[in-house]
Point group: D2
Chain length 466, copies 4
Amino acid sequence: MNETPTMRLHGPLFATSAMRGVFCDRAQLQAMLDVEAALARAGARAGVIPAAAAAAIESKCSAPVYDVDSIAAEAASAGNLAIPLVKALTAQVAAADEAAARFVHWGATSQDVIDTGLVLQLRAALDLLDADAERLADSLAALADAHRATAMAGRTWMQQALPVTLGLKAAGWLDSLTRDRTRLRCLRKNLLVLQLGGATGTLAAFEGRGLSMAGELARDLGLALSDLPWHAQRDRLAECATTLGLLVGSLGKIARDLSLLSQTEIGEMNEPAEPGRGGSSTMPQKRNPVACAVALAAAIRVPPLVATMLAAMVQEQERGLGGWHAEWETLPQILLLTSGSLSQLSHALASPEVHLETIARNLGATRGLNLAGTVAAALTALFGRKAAHQIVAEACRKALDEERPLRDVLAGLPELRGHITSSELDAFFEPARHLGEANALIDRALASHREASIDSSLPNEARDER
Amino acid sequence: MNETPTMRLHGPLFATSAMRGVFCDRAQLQAMLDVEAALARAGARAGVIPAAAAAAIESKCSAPVYDVDSIAAEAASAGNLAIPLVKALTAQVAAADEAAARFVHWGATSQDVIDTGLVLQLRAALDLLDADAERLADSLAALADAHRATAMAGRTWMQQALPVTLGLKAAGWLDSLTRDRTRLRCLRKNLLVLQLGGATGTLAAFEGRGLSMAGELARDLGLALSDLPWHAQRDRLAECATTLGLLVGSLGKIARDLSLLSQTEIGEMNEPAEPGRGGSSTMPQKRNPVACAVALAAAIRVPPLVATMLAAMVQEQERGLGGWHAEWETLPQILLLTSGSLSQLSHALASPEVHLETIARNLGATRGLNLAGTVAAALTALFGRKAAHQIVAEACRKALDEERPLRDVLAGLPELRGHITSSELDAFFEPARHLGEANALIDRALASHREASIDSSLPNEARDER
Amino acid sequence: MNETPTMRLHGPLFATSAMRGVFCDRAQLQAMLDVEAALARAGARAGVIPAAAAAAIESKCSAPVYDVDSIAAEAASAGNLAIPLVKALTAQVAAADEAAARFVHWGATSQDVIDTGLVLQLRAALDLLDADAERLADSLAALADAHRATAMAGRTWMQQALPVTLGLKAAGWLDSLTRDRTRLRCLRKNLLVLQLGGATGTLAAFEGRGLSMAGELARDLGLALSDLPWHAQRDRLAECATTLGLLVGSLGKIARDLSLLSQTEIGEMNEPAEPGRGGSSTMPQKRNPVACAVALAAAIRVPPLVATMLAAMVQEQERGLGGWHAEWETLPQILLLTSGSLSQLSHALASPEVHLETIARNLGATRGLNLAGTVAAALTALFGRKAAHQIVAEACRKALDEERPLRDVLAGLPELRGHITSSELDAFFEPARHLGEANALIDRALASHREASIDSSLPNEARDER
Amino acid sequence: MNETPTMRLHGPLFATSAMRGVFCDRAQLQAMLDVEAALARAGARAGVIPAAAAAAIESKCSAPVYDVDSIAAEAASAGNLAIPLVKALTAQVAAADEAAARFVHWGATSQDVIDTGLVLQLRAALDLLDADAERLADSLAALADAHRATAMAGRTWMQQALPVTLGLKAAGWLDSLTRDRTRLRCLRKNLLVLQLGGATGTLAAFEGRGLSMAGELARDLGLALSDLPWHAQRDRLAECATTLGLLVGSLGKIARDLSLLSQTEIGEMNEPAEPGRGGSSTMPQKRNPVACAVALAAAIRVPPLVATMLAAMVQEQERGLGGWHAEWETLPQILLLTSGSLSQLSHALASPEVHLETIARNLGATRGLNLAGTVAAALTALFGRKAAHQIVAEACRKALDEERPLRDVLAGLPELRGHITSSELDAFFEPARHLGEANALIDRALASHREASIDSSLPNEARDER
């Protein structure tokens, strides 16, 4: 029996069901069979094979007809999946129509079918990702808009700094996601292309009808034509990997932020509570941030997988040895992990818990020290940079030592007397006065989001026109 | 003394002199000082600081004024380069104009200056890469065009297969490089943007004039504006890494092919001979493929560095801890390695040695076995797939065993008598008749190349219009 | 239905059946259940839970009792596999013995069970690798011994250089494999240890009997005790990854060499011919080096996966978020890929085709230029380094241009007349006279191999004594 | 001028001065010259070259004699550093003693000198790391011992869980560092070996005296002998990388923990305060955790560099193309980054700020919810697992909603009345009673630490005896 390494047990945690459907064994066989069927149809239209043969072949291009495990076992000897699949398909066709059997796979090489089948799977996968990305983007946009006025502690180097708003933070998350959505859209142009070249990429087997065959086949499958076969030019697939790598990185950043905000001692945001979700076997009240775990795990795992796809680009001559094989499981894994990260965060951020009181409390936790930089800047106008920074630094130390508000320490400084009034001091320590252009920046992120969403609602062709 | 880890000794091998100039210590300081100067000018124009102060600051923004080693030493404590540089700049300005000193770095945070400085370096670096890439592309285009008729052994899985032409091989190299050039051009839009946000990205220190400051500064530096500050959204820099990773992969593939063709026993192409180049200390006549070594080394080193940039995207909250630091040496290394790979191959392929006789000899080395697939396909029409493959496989074994041409073995087969004439057999074994659409495919690659080159000859703005 | 991403289709190519058995879904559940059963037994022995409860629990610790897909589905919510498995186990026990149910998983945390279960799988996996590695090592040793006198072209930078022997080449392959076998043996000490700590690693739930529980459990499972629980100290697992990374690298080097030697134009060695193996769909006579493809693919894929395991070591506090999750599929994949590479090469090198005539022919292909370095060294004694090198370099050029043997060119040089006799010249060009210490070096490699094999034939405990 | 890419500016932050000294350009040249000098001495002793020549050569083996930039420039053509260095050395020797010049580099190949020089540098580097690692280990041991009784919040998945002690946390850090120290010690055996093989690893140029030459040279340099030359077997260097990768991972985990504990809102530990350290340009009071930043950056950067070293192992035949080159800058970078991470943390943890009050306050922050698991376990004995968990979960929800201590909520539950006394309840919520075996575990970590330190205080030979 062909046992399946751990992917099944961990699958549902790390990838959506739909994405697993796109990359499951059966779907891969079906994608390859779809190519064989289309190849036969195109061959008939191009006058390369008889129309009757095409129909006979097409009728056997259905994955359930074939046994995954025996195809897999033969592939282990043959070196790739197309060889045993074509053999099995030929046998099936021959059983029904002996004459048609010889036209199976006509003119193509194994890699033509495997690569084009993969492209079909990738197209379905990108559609899924687009939809999930839009959902997450919409949630982030809503969060950004809703929390324009929610002042919260800014944090740099994991230390509190000047205040921001939750809206601005969400806008930052959104804006990189918007760029990722645009990248995903651009990727399609290079990626969703036919592979057809025959043994060494010359289309020689079509005896002069190679270009028309390629045209017919591309049209049939709804794929674009490439300048050349790309058997050993793997930048298209590697670009798919790098584009997803960027997306997974953007998502990892969101997850890191969210997990930091969810810490027991900070408690500003949480993933939504749901029965059975994030449970701990020993601590009944504890809620583990499962979506963050998945997105952070993806952000650890995907970059090295992207490196694999880049390293695998060094493929020998007309068709390479080892590099091609290195892609086979790697690229699907990237897609799966991306889908898991994206959908988990999409779910978590559709209705996150936001603890406004805690946010406000944390913002005051340093008793005004987080605003020391602002005060120093203001005093610079009066005392020069160096002196101002010294005054404030000294006051900060005092405030820390005595556990008093920085405002009160400053109020007591003889150096400031006559220079700053009490209400000016109060104003310094009003977070809402130190939010700068947060609102305008949120507007910009929302505008870009809207534009990306309009784009993505257009059919692919219309988008390419824009 | 501040010793410099090995980069200096190996520098010239792995990167061009011009690229090393862009990323040398002094150039980095100058880029940061260029930002400080522009910040002062923009501040003056936006009414944020006095014009006189701006002039005083600008006059000190020259790298040779500062000591690399003491800046470096202080940065080791401070945690980044901007802190000691701003301190030193302030001291310089104060010495000349006490009043101006307090306006140094006004409203900005360390990362604003470091990131924007980096963007200025990256712009210069991309210009260098564009030029080298165009040079290599032109050489490959010339090679593709010149060798349309040079039939050579195709090789798949490192075994001889159906013939190709050297022109087609070069067209394959060219076509992925063309895509890389387009990617480099697209990258600019996301990458060449201003970083200005102040401590936590709100532009709060500009007290309402943040957006106009950012606008003035971007205009001054010739950079685009981003929607938001991107202190902790690092997809722009990571995309620079991934784009170069794709280019380095394409180049690595060329180098692998070239190094395989250069093997003593194959000898179809060589890097150009030059005195002192590729010498061996013990074998005076031996010529080592240095350009290939550099490009292959880059293809090994860059993918993991790309992974570093992707992994580093997970940066905490408003400004991260560790992730940002991980970028500092990594991205310049990617640029340097890319430049080395690109320029070495550009040099090697400007005037490669092409050994036409050896190419022809190798093409015949299998005594026709490389064309067995074609024969099998032809016989399929007569005997069906299975029988045809069996006939040819048997003939191949015989030809191998007896060291005879496959043609002659086939000529002697009783099964074929009456089915195939002697001149038909000859035609089967004429490589030039099995080159399929090689010529048309070369045409396509050349057309894409020309279009990319027209694009790259336009000023950046005009290109964006296209 | 829980579709399984592509692992099943590609599984047989990239991993042995036995190794897939170790890491299949069912085996993972069984390993965790083995830990639960042992935990119950140890709890009974340590007086922590009633003996009757232990028996009741043990009776339900059989994987076929549980449904992989529903465990997987719940794990996607819970965040790990142990939570639903413990829940299901508890329900099974409760159905049979209500009182016993509460003692299921007593005192342990999810990670205790998952990690210890993994260690049990890793132990089985290492046993498999040890056996395959010994098999390959024996084949390489035989090859090294058998081909002590098989002079063959040495190749540096992919250019022919001074001769070596096939035996020496095999000894080089063997020697690094021997070091890898020793590393695998050393790894066991750190790796095969119990994980038991409870929620935060204090063993608090055992109320004073934690150490004796750990001792009992370790003894039961045949594992060593660690100083501390290692929930967030993942160096043991990462070391497993790095050790295998080194092995896969050594194997990749063998595969690269073998694939280069198998090129059509070189043809010195081939993977053994077998029906259906390495077949090409279009070229019936072509034999693709499938074992090399697998081993090279592993050498591309495993290093980034090792990086994942190293990057994942940064786990937060008592138990981390994301880093732990990143390990789950990564480490099994490394084991699987290692097994595939090792067993494929083990198979290919058990009976490789060695083409002695071709080896001899290639050795003479440069007409003596490969020995130019030796000649230059010899002449140095007569003419000094510089002059000697010039003489030889000049002669090499002449030999190349005129396609004559270097020996003959040298014989005609007036400078050498009187210095070197004709028979001395002949001796210079006798490859067998330039093999240096090849034989003695082979002896050393064989001696290390024998020692490693004696070591590995001892039971683990005895080995540790050595 | 040969500009130096950014390594100089960032050098002091990411690596110690001593380590930069080991890997600076001059030190690399000196290491190679040390090998040339030793080669000459060994050649004289083995009777391969005249003693006078050896002395003449030795007298010129001093790095300051040579110009870094011109060696570097020539290396860019030649393909490696040894070629121009040997040329320059030969010229220097020739100028003083014409006859001696021809014996420079006698019998060696470039890679012999480069590799053995690198091994000498690595030996010095490992000595530095050993010392820093011992220092850090001693600090962690002191911390573990001093804080046996410092109960602090345990945290899993970044959520508070059962209490631990600071001592136990430090013991966990220490224990993995102890394993890393042992790994570093073991590494020496494989790593610190001579490289000497001549052009293709046969030692042919020594004409029968190769083995004695190698013996003499190894003795002179204090290196061990390998079975075979390892020009294309790079597991030794890759193992150096993987061993350091594990160390950097262990350090990254410490840094992640420390940075989390240092967050403004948690504030349990801080890096020591020092003038100028971790300063922020805009926030005078803010102290950035610079050591954590460096160690986390290393933990991001080193794993991919380790992958590079593993990927580079696939080197062709007798000496490889590209793989060898990929090592040159990569391995030194790993050493440098490791030293930076280790020394920064060693410094920070020599005298960390520990805020006992805050630790205690945070431990109580959940009002007992962190102990819910313990309570649930206790109640399980009374009510069974399911009911107990339900009771506690319900009480937790109530405690959260009403912001009351869990203890008080439980005290009011009718279900518990009669089952649990008030003082039993108090005991449940006494953190010190839930620390399990923390003390004994600390003892174990300290014992392993002491043993490792005794080991490391022995001379290397004596250690190997142990």
